[in-house]
């Protein structure tokens, strides 16, 4: 099974809602990781603010921090190989690294089956 490890910059929460303004990229990324899990990828996420030990335990991650400070974050590893530094990738990129097929999120229609509406 593919394992994806995400090393986040220090932040209060992984959807980023704790700041005075929400970054939609963070909320999207959290949702994409959740989707990736549903596709059978093992996802691990570490926040520098909460689990700094996870960062210093991996020589490559520690070295990246020492060289570039937090600019190297988020750092992403697939099966212990660094695949990306300093950006939040799209769902398509994540999917291609992990060898799963990206599907666009389906639009949700509520109240579709009103009798006689002809929608179903």
């Amino acid at each position: 099974m593919t394992t994806l490890q995400v090393y986040d910059p220090p932040m209060c929460c992984s959807t980023g809602i704790c700041g005075p303004a929400v970054d939609p990229k963070l909320a999207q990324f959290s949702a994409d990781l959740d989707w990736l899990k549903s596709q059978g990828v093992q996802v691990q996420r570490f926040n520098l603010g909460h689990e700094p030990g996870a960062f210093t335990a991996v020589e490559e991650v520690k070295a990246a921090l020492q060289a570039d400070n937090t600019a190297c974050l988020p750092l992403i590893r697939r099966d212990n190989q660094v695949v990306s530094k300093g950006v939040y990738p799209s769902r398509e990129q994540l999917a291609s690294w992990c060898g799963v097929k990206a599907v666009a999120s389906l639009p949700v229609v509520s109240g579709c089956c009103t009798p006689g509406s002809g929608c179903c």
Binding site: C13, G16, E51
Partner: protein, 589 residues
């Protein structure tokens, strides 16, 4: 006192600031200790004055109180606890990771949530872990002002639910890893709080309608959280001994009226009534007298009278000079910030300026206070629940817009965290201040501890802004510079001529100055000094006031004004207008 005769292991004292809950907690502790019980007295109030009342410097571990065998006390300082917590998390990485990285980690632990969590950790340790207090028979908590107390007390169940339901592994609860390890401790804390055999909640209030309403609200909210073993202490009840002293007669009547109209639900907890003491409650002997139910005899004081001070109206010319701006009334809860703010708002409107009066006080009753309408005066309230709902909706509509169903659920989960309210209220505050660019905005802020947290987050946000300016509402970016601009923002520190309120106001001023905010004036509220009184208890209190008025004038205030105690409740346009002047002859009987 009945509290002493049948005391449970844990006792909590809660109530609006200035109602005397510290005195009650201390008197109960001294009373129990004098009966040979081993007692630990704990303050979790950021604005605690336990040191002052007991006459000993307290710290984070139990300190023996001099002259009282069996009594120990400690003071939980949330800031210090947060600092220790931050050090525990960050220190191992100094020298391992680059300094800039360590600094960015520290930044994450500088928020108000960390302070809350750290304070709560201490609180849970004492209540939830029997080993921590095994050597004591009673643990007495002198807790923070009501809003803060409620947050502390409601957090266990909020978190309990949150930790159980949060299945995605993401969370806004800051250092969640630390919390999960504590889950059992928090569960025990909730259980201890709810167990009537172990815990008594003492609601301390005064014989005033607003204080009684506040106690009623607290009683309800805690009963809803299944904290059911409650007692009500009505403190400072005055009975006139001189029928020819109009002030005394009016004060006694106001107290009797308030007691006659006690909210219906508030009559269910057993009630304890305590008379108005002739002096502020400081020192062990006055606490012993209070525990016995005696009144300590009036003592003649030799302090010379304080110099006469002008009334609130003397500030108006300067306040209106700019034609717009923000007026903030600040101070400990219960000192009358709301009333002073409302009086100034009415006075500005009377001078022909459009005014927006807004309150962030969780116990807001501005609308009630301002029964009469004025066409230039707009009154609104920052309602934490409504602000949180609106903010959550805004986030779902913007950041959540392009997410799929699972993504939306994840975001909604994070929005249920306790920090969301803090942010939502803060943004509403910034919005209200923004209105001061065009007209006058008068804000009465929440109690001291909360005010400091708000300003603190303003600072943290300010630092965030200078690093990255994306997506920040402009009014938030402008907030701190505006609060620091003495031409834009006028901060009025409101206090009472009593020991604790003056010292706490002085601490608030120091905190404001650290944030680069300089108060414009001090308002000494509800003073007996400008009034002619004969009743011996009131005369004694009037003499007591001189020392504190002098302290304000000599040590703290650039400008000070005085507002006399009001024979009639200061409500409506007429009642509020009376607050502006301080002429003696104006007091009706």
């Amino acid at each position: 006192m009945e509290l002493i005769e049948r005391a449970t292991r844990n006792l909590f004292f809660t109530g609006k600031g200035g109602v005397g809950k510290t005195s009650m907690a201390c008197a109960t502790a001294v009373g129990l200790a004098d009966r040979g019980r081993r007692v630990l007295l704990v303050s979790t109030d950021p604005a605690s004055n336990l040191d002052e009342v007991l006459g000993v410097a307290l710290g984070g571990s139990p300190t023996a109180v001099p002259h009282v065998a069996n009594l120990w006390a400690l003071n939980v300082d949330p800031e210090a606890a947060a600092h220790a917590y931050r050090e525990r998390m960050v220190a191992p990485y100094r020298g391992v990771l680059p300094d800039a990285t360590v600094a960015s980690m520290e930044e994450q632990f500088s928020g108000s949530c960390t302070i809350e969590i750290a304070a709560f950790d201490e609180f849970a340790r004492l209540l939830g872990d029997p080993a921590a207090t095994v050597e004591f028979d009673h643990v007495i908590f002198d807790t923070a002002p009501t809003g803060h107390t409620l947050r502390l007390l409601t957090l266990p169940s909020a978190w309990e639910g949150f930790l159980q339901e949060n299945t995605t592994g993401t969370s806004c609860l800051g250092p969640l890893a630390g919390l999960q390890a504590q889950q059992a401790l928090y569960r025990d804390t909730v259980q201890a709080l709810r167990d009537p055999e172990r815990t008594t909640l003492v609601l301390v209030t005064r014989a005033e309608p607003s204080a009684l309403r506040e106690a009623d609200r607290t009683s309800h909210e805690l009963a809803a959280l299944e904290v059911s073993n409650q007692r009500l202490v009505v403190n400072g009840i005055f009975e006139a001994s001189d029928a020819y002293d109009p002030v005394a007669v009016a004060m006694a009547r106001r107290h009797a009226d308030a007691l006659a109209n006690i909210p219906a639900n508030l009559s269910s907890p057993p009630q304890i009534r305590v008379s108005l003491a002739p002096h502020g409650m400081l020192g062990i002997e006055s606490l012993r007298a209070l525990a016995r139910g005696d009144q300590s005899p009036p003592v003649a004081r030799t302090t010379p009278d304080a110099p006469p001070l002008p009334g609130l109206e003397s500030l108006l010319d300067e306040l209106v000079a700019q034609g717009h701006g923000v007026i903030l009334t600040m101070g400990k809860g219960g000192v009358g910030k709301t009333t002073v703010a409302a009086a100034l708002a009415v006075a500005l409107a009377d001078r022909g300026f459009p005014v927006h009066l807004s309150t962030t006080d969780p116990a807001a009753h501005v609308a009630e206070t301002l029964a009469g309408e004025h066409h230039l005066l707009q009154v609104s309230r920052i309602d934490p629940q409504a602000e949180t709902a609106a903010y959550s909706q805004e986030v779902m509509d913007t950041a959540g817009a392009q997410l799929d169903v699972a993504g939306k659920a994840l975001l909604a989960e994070d929005l249920r965290s306790p920090c969301t309210e803090e942010i939502a209220v803060f943004r509403a505050f910034a919005r209200a201040v923004d209105g001061g660019a065009d007209g006058f905005v008068v804000l009465d802020t929440a109690p001291t501890g909360h005010t400091i947290l708000l300003l603190d987050s303003a600072l943290a946000y300010h630092r965030e802004v200078t690093r990255q300016a994306s997506g920040m509402p402009p009014e938030v970016e402008k907030l701190l510079p505006r609060l620091r601009d003495t031409n834009f923002t006028r901060v009025l520190i409101v206090t009472l001529p009593e020991a604790t309120p003056v010292h706490e106001a002085a601490k608030l001023q120091v905190d404001l100055q650290r944030a680069g905010i300089r108060p414009f004036a001090w308002v000494i509220n509800q003073s007996l000094t400008p009034l002619a009184v004969r009743d011996p208890v009131l005369r004694s209190r009037q003499r007591d006031e001189q020392m504190y008025i002098r302290e304000v004038v000599d040590e703290h205030a650039v400008r000070a004004v005085i507002v006399p105690w009001q024979a009639e409740p200061p409500v409506g346009r007429a009642g509020l207008t009376r607050l502006m002047s301080q002429r003696r002859e104006e007091q009706p009987v």
